[in-house]
């Protein structure tokens, strides 16, 4: 379990400079975390992911994580100010779940793009994929097998192992962020049932087959370049 976090780094600098109480607060619209806008319309990923799913996923599920995260952080700041250790410990679950949910979905929306705007991976990313799995197709087959096998709710990830410089596939449960494994997240696929059920029902493998049509490899390449700096 990660050590207790200090919230100082969540504060906008103006609040600190103004000598305001050094405490996270959603009052006056000073919320540390915001639901990001999608880079495309809800219907833009059709027919691979329906507009209905995208709207629910973004405006209900992701929005819920952001709201609950802000609420938990506000309560945490309150508990921290009162030195209520029991409360701080009790809030860790909510911070983990909702913070992880926010991190993961924040990445996910950028990993996807309308099908017409997508093209195959190139450059260092393609080299890294081929080095590890032999070809893009073999990577996808392996990724899909591991991700389909996630029990219950979770995510499949392509990540960078900074120590080895190599790419790896990993699966995480619930909203556990990939960073828990030490890997840098490059591409995530949400396999919580809410991500696909309305359209694909129980057939998670069909969703996994289809999603590669809308993977924004340019974004994945950008993340890899940033991670390697």
């Amino acid at each position: 379990m990660s050590s207790l976090i200090s919230l100082a780094r969540f504060l906008p600098e103006t609040a600190v400079a103004a000598g305001a109480a050094a405490r996270f607060s959603t009052a006056g619209g000073v919320a540390a975390y915001k639901l990001p806008e999608l880079p495309y319309s809800y219907a833009a990923l059709e027919p691979v992911i329906s507009g209905t799913i995208m709207e629910l996923h973004h405006s209900k599920h992701h929005a819920g994580y952001v709201a609950n995260l802000n609420k938990a952080l506000e309560e945490y700041a309150d508990a921290e100010a009162k030195r209520d250790l029991q409360k701080m410990i009790a809030l860790q679950g909510a911070i983990n779940f909702n913070g992880g949910g926010h991190i993961n979905h924040d990445i996910f929306w950028t990993n996807l793009a309308p099908e017409k705007d997508c093209r195959p991976p190139t450059g260092e990313l393609l080299k890294g994929i081929e080095a590890r799995w032999g070809s893009l197709d073999k990577f996808i087959t392996t990724f899909n097998a591991q991700t389909a096998a996630v029990q219950g709710s979770g995510w499949g990830w392509l990540g960078l192992n900074k120590a080895t410089g190599g790419l790896e596939i990993a699966a995480c449960a619930n909203q556990d962020p990939l960073a828990k494994t030490g890997l840098v997240p490059l591409l995530g696929v949400d396999v919580w049932e809410h991500a696909y059920y309305l359209q694909y029902k129980n057939v998670r493998p069909d969703y996994l087959k289809a999603i590669w049509r809308i993977v924004n490899w340019e974004n994945v390449e950008q993340r890899l370049a940033a991670a390697k700096k």
């Binding site: 629910l56 209900k60 599920h61 819920g64 679950g93 779940f97 029990q151 219950g152 709710s153 979770g154 449960a173 619930n174 909203q175 919580w192 049932e193 809410h194 059920y197 309305l198 029902k201 129980n202």
Partner: protein, 217 residues
């Protein structure tokens, strides 16, 4: 002797409007069926485990009785098969649902103060289970009623369970159990579910649990 998908004790539409027919159909013929298929496949090379029967197989999850290389498959699919087999029996047509009576009613009031207070605790456990899982009302080792939730396809029979109990009622809160009708609105599903609870079955489960017996044993 392979495990089999049990028939539902009612038609797929019987729990409408609270649980929709399409969900019941997919839930039974696809999700539950897959657990049955998978647990049979996993136990193919372990006839002694199959011979335990489904209840003792579940109780063995987390013990040395289940070899490491089949432990996860047994937990997920043996758990899934028991959980869903139990789930179908604790539900029934809304018009048949009257509320607890007799010993179960007395036990609920004794443990929680009132039926409403029990439901509030149960609903909180069901809504608060992050990710996939189940909420349970059950008889604890000391004979009293308790409420707990478990992740994924775990249940309180398993050795790995934090709070062991013999289930009296169980509610599936995996998204597949409610998403087609309720989408993200899990609390609405939980509230509606009480309309289809089969209190006669719950009473039978309670009586059996007090005698240390488990559904399906």
């Amino acid at each position: 002797m392979a495990f089999k998908l049990p028939d539902l004790p009612y038609a797929y539409a019987a729990l409408e409007p609270h649980v929709d027919a399409t969900t019941m159909n997919i839930h039974h013929t696809k999700h539950h069926n897959a657990y049955v298929t998978n647990v049979n496949a996993a136990l193919d090379k372990f006839p002694e485990l199959k011979g335990l029967g489904l209840v003792d197989l579940n109780k063995a999850v987390g013990t040395a009785a289940v070899p490491a290389d089949v432990a996860t498959a047994v937990r997920n699919n043996g758990g899934g098969h028991w959980n869903h087999s139990f789930f179908w029996t604790v539900m029934g047509a809304p018009t048949d649902s009257n509320g607890p009576s007799g010993e179960l009613k007395a036990a609920i009031e004794g443990a929680f103060g009132s039926l409403d207070e029990m439901k509030a605790k149960f609903n909180a456990a069901a809504a608060g289970r992050f990710g996939s899982g189940w909420a349970w009302l059950g008889v604890k080792p000391d004979g009293s009623l308790g409420i707990t939730s478990t992740p994924n396809q775990d249940n309180p029979l398993m050795a790995v369970a934090d709070d062991k109990m013999i289930p009296v009622l169980g509610l599936d809160v995996w998204e597949h159990a409610y998403y087609l009708k309720y989408q993200n609105r899990r609390p609405e599903y939980i509230a509606a579910w009480w309309n289809v609870v089969n209190w006669e079955a719950a009473s039978e489960n309670f009586a059996a649990a007090k005698a240390g017996k488990v559904f399906g044993a």
